[in-house]
Amino acid sequence: MTTGIGARIERKEDRRLLTGQAKFVGDIKLPRQWEAAFVRSPVAHGRIRAIRKPEGMADRVFTAADLSDIHPIRAESSLPTYNASDQYPLAKDKVRFVGECVALCIAPTRAEAEDLAEQVEIEIDPLPPVIDALKAREADAPLLHEEWGNNLFLTTFFDGDIETLRKTAPVVVEREYSTARQCMNPMEGKGTLAHWDEKAGQLVVYTSTQVPHLIRTGISECLGLDQGQVRVIAPDVGGGFGYKCVLQPEELSVSWVARKTGRPIRWTEDRREHLVAGANTRQHHYKLTAFADERGRLLGLDAEITVDVGAYSVWPFTACLEAAQAGGNLPGPYDFGTYRCHTFSVATNKPAFTPYRGVARPGVCFAMELTIDAIARAVGREPSEVRKENLVPAGKMPFTNVTKKFYDSGDYPESVAQVERHIGLAGFRARQQKARAEGRFLGIGFSTFTEQSAHGTKVFAAWGLPLVPGYEQAMVKITPSGSVEVRSGNHSFGQGLETTLAQVASEWLTVDTSRINVTMGDTGVTPYSTGAYASRGMVMAGGAVSKAAEVLAGRVKTHAAHLLQCTPDDIRLADGKAWFGNAHVGFEDIARAWYLRPDQLPDDVETAGLEVTEGYKPAIDTGVFTYATHGAIVEVDPDTGMVSIEDYYIFEDCGRRVNPMILEGQAFGGATQGIGTALFEEVLYDANGQPLTSTLADYVLPGPAELPHFRLGHAETLSPYTRHGIKGVGEGAAIAPGGAIVNAINDALTPFGIEINAIPATPEKVLGAILRAGTLREASG
């Protein structure tokens, strides 16, 4: 069996992950290491009057005053209306959210560090908090960053001739939608262990990150060190989802203290810190007006999007990536001509917004897909028919949409048709009627999206980011014993990249993946990469490994030709051997000749050797678009408001599937997170900005019993623009569940004449809406 591209092989990393042999930051123990605990702000908004360290603890407790030589995290952007923020790793002058770090305490153990943290006294003059992003836009709202004169990180405007449509469109549908603030909840939270390595003259930082090379840049800039003085090592990372793709304030303060004290210092985020200070994603509000013809054909869309960004702008992705993506991606897979969109990225007294798996698209997909169903109801047609008619037809590919997104390939309407077929739309309406007669409320919902993956240099540059990804590099090498080493500066934290990159190398070199070792995440030994985000890992790192492996395969052939007395063109690689007709030499023979017995090779041998580093960028810079349709059948219990998912079908097209099993795992995991977004997860605040969901008893994640048995189908439309036709897929499945499930809920609730337009659709929300509808009916009847 070959282990190249397309092979359904088990993951190389799973043995250590599943048997407790993996090495996370929390598993590393260095001599003289101490632990850190943070004193965090107890109030949402306030001015720091005093911080008092306990007696005799000046060298164990650190505040902004101690870290006076550190540069704040400041993500600049070239976008016109942008306001930048300064985030000090330990709050200086003001605190802007509950959970913001105020002081760092060190002790031999975490418990002792927490004992110490309790004794630190902080005096804060409270200021009125800004909790509601819509109110924060108002003129008299309290200000987070006074110097701006408002609470707006960014506003954007995309103009279109909506006014004409308003006069002429036969069907107008107006809605407001909202999505809750969420925490990403990777199994492993953040964690950082820093120490000064005197021999290397380097600050060595083990940190749980998706982007080690970026963090190296961030740490060196904020700490004023040359990049050569910083080495960042991301060991095993227990989930990222975007939470770990930005420079973390804790990475800076821990590094500073480690350097100052000369002691290895470690901090491990606990779940409570995560649920309070990591409540940083997903919260959007939409005001949409859609214009359509009598058949529900979309003519135009007028949108106002408000993103509740929180207090600071994260580095390097800024506070604007979310709204930029939301505004740009709202039209999604649909083909229509007129679009107008205002976006507001609003500062509130909450943790700093960080892009989460799907970045903005779970929100836009939810808003757009509910709107499509609302239009269908308005014109009295089956929503999936209306959906199919509005999607970009296959015949128009490649297609540039209203926001200038370049859709490279695919058949979007067919993905809906596939889900219709597999989930059984044809027989469903009759079944639904019958169930209603028995007092049971079933509903069906669909949701289609495109996922821009591996967007390149120009896309990021257009978003105004301070740091723009370019080429991706990888190194592939044959060891003296004929096995293969792959090095990539990207990182794997659950996506299985260790396996899939080995498969790509195996595709060219034909060596079994069990003999291919993949090293990632250590800036000391891997080529530069901006890291793993934006579903770019497989496309970019995969492409780079592919290119390097291809060049290396050529070199192998050259050496093999010497040994087999033929020309390189005569050589064929198979089963980890070089063949000339029926004669062959193994990789071990070739490697031995090159490394140990070069006397066997001719004098004019090519000296470049069996180690190749190559850079890669896809043929286009605009990203390659994966797409999918999700379909759900739900039953709503109108007495309890509980929603159960009876069936869930996903049809997706992500180009070449490097490892189908890993892809399925990504789909199941992503859809599970999407179900959390749709039905369960919600960070709640009281009027003072105090989080009410600071334990997992209050912040409800879906568990195995709440999940459906996902079913999955695939098309493989290869991207014409990437190596092997690969498209990114890591984020996709998290995008659509909100739309599919809530469309299904609303379909089920049609007899009540109500719609749910906010997620999560908790029993309380659903039942509340049903009860209010009942009261209304009683009152009007």
Binding site: D115, T640, V700, A705, E706, P763, L771
Partner: protein
């Protein structure tokens, strides 16, 4: 999330446990399975300087049966009850309730006594034991013992009528006749989480017992004699509106959604109890 420093002692006898409690009643807490106290310690919401572990006390892990009662030691775990180690005071109810608490990992350590003493309004045993008319045996520091009926045990959220120096030793559950029926229904957002609404119903024609209890009301379980009487006389499930009126008039602060969920839990519990008659 590490607790503040504490010592822990594991006495072998009630007297030794009481002695430990007596030395510093304010700073000492009893710990049983630690499934409620543990999180409170880690969140530093509870900060005792000493813990007294009662799981090793003689008799506390025992299960006995008399002619009239089943007696469950306070330190008997939910898992043991789930697995059927406790004789049935009424066929199947204890196993059903135990199996619905949290996850197996929590049930392996969490105990019936700990659950009752913790007095979480949304917990299961406080409601189920009220429906079953159980009494609690407690011992004080001077060796005195008293019985507290469930109806007078829980005073409010996390408040009971036990004194600081009292230890719960035994839960006494009356044995019901073969003709007894029960229903227990809870509405949970997620398997293993605390319920949003609980209703318990127990009726025994032989002993002329009929009890209706609501749990997860934000305070002590709510007992409705009015509904119980109505069911006893009509043998039918009361209409939803009647139940809602009872809940609305209960004096508790309950949202419309909560009232509806409690009323639905009630009718499902009673329907279940009456349907297999």
């Amino acid at each position: 999330m590490k607790p503040s420093p504490f010592e822990i002692s594991c006495p072998g006898s009630l007297d030794a446990a009481h002695k430990a409690l007596h030395e510093n009643p304010r700073g000492t807490r009893i710990i049983s399975g630690g499934q409620s106290l543990g999180p409170m310690l880690n969140l530093r919401l509870a900060r005792p300087s000493r813990l007294v572990d009662v799981t090793g006390l003689s008799g506390l892990a025992e299960i006995r049966q008399t002619d009239s009662h089943v007696e469950i030691g306070a330190a008997v775990t939910h898992a043991r009850i789930e697995d059927g180690e406790v004789p049935d005071p009424i066929p199947g109810m204890l196993r059903h309730v135990a199996a619905g608490i949290a996850y197996r990992a929590v049930r392996n350590r969490g105990t019936i006594g700990g659950s009752l003493c913790h007095a979480d309004p949304a917990a299961d045993w406080v409601t189920a034991m009220t429906a079953l008319g159980a009494t609690l045996l407690v011992r004080d520091g001077s060796g005195g013992a008293r019985e507290i009926p469930m109806s007078g045990f829980m005073l409010g959220a996390y408040r009971t009528s036990m004194a600081e120096d009292e230890i719960l030793t035994t839960v006494r559950v009356p044995r019901h006749s073969d003709r007894a029926r029960w229903g227990y229904y809870k509405i949970c957002r997620k398997v293993g989480e605390f319920a949003d609404a609980i209703a318990g119903f127990v009726a025994d024609p032989e002993s002329r017992v009929c009890r209706v209890v609501f749990g997860s009301t934000g305070g002590a379980p709510l007992v409705s004699t009015e509904l119980a009487q109505q069911i006893a006389t009509t043998g039918a499930v009361p209409p939803l509106d009647t139940v809602k009126t009872v809940l609305r008039d209960s004096g508790l602060t309950l949202s419309d959604v909560k009232i509806h969920q409690l009323a639905i839990a009630h009718s499902r519990a009673v329907t279940e109890a009456l349907s297999d008659a």
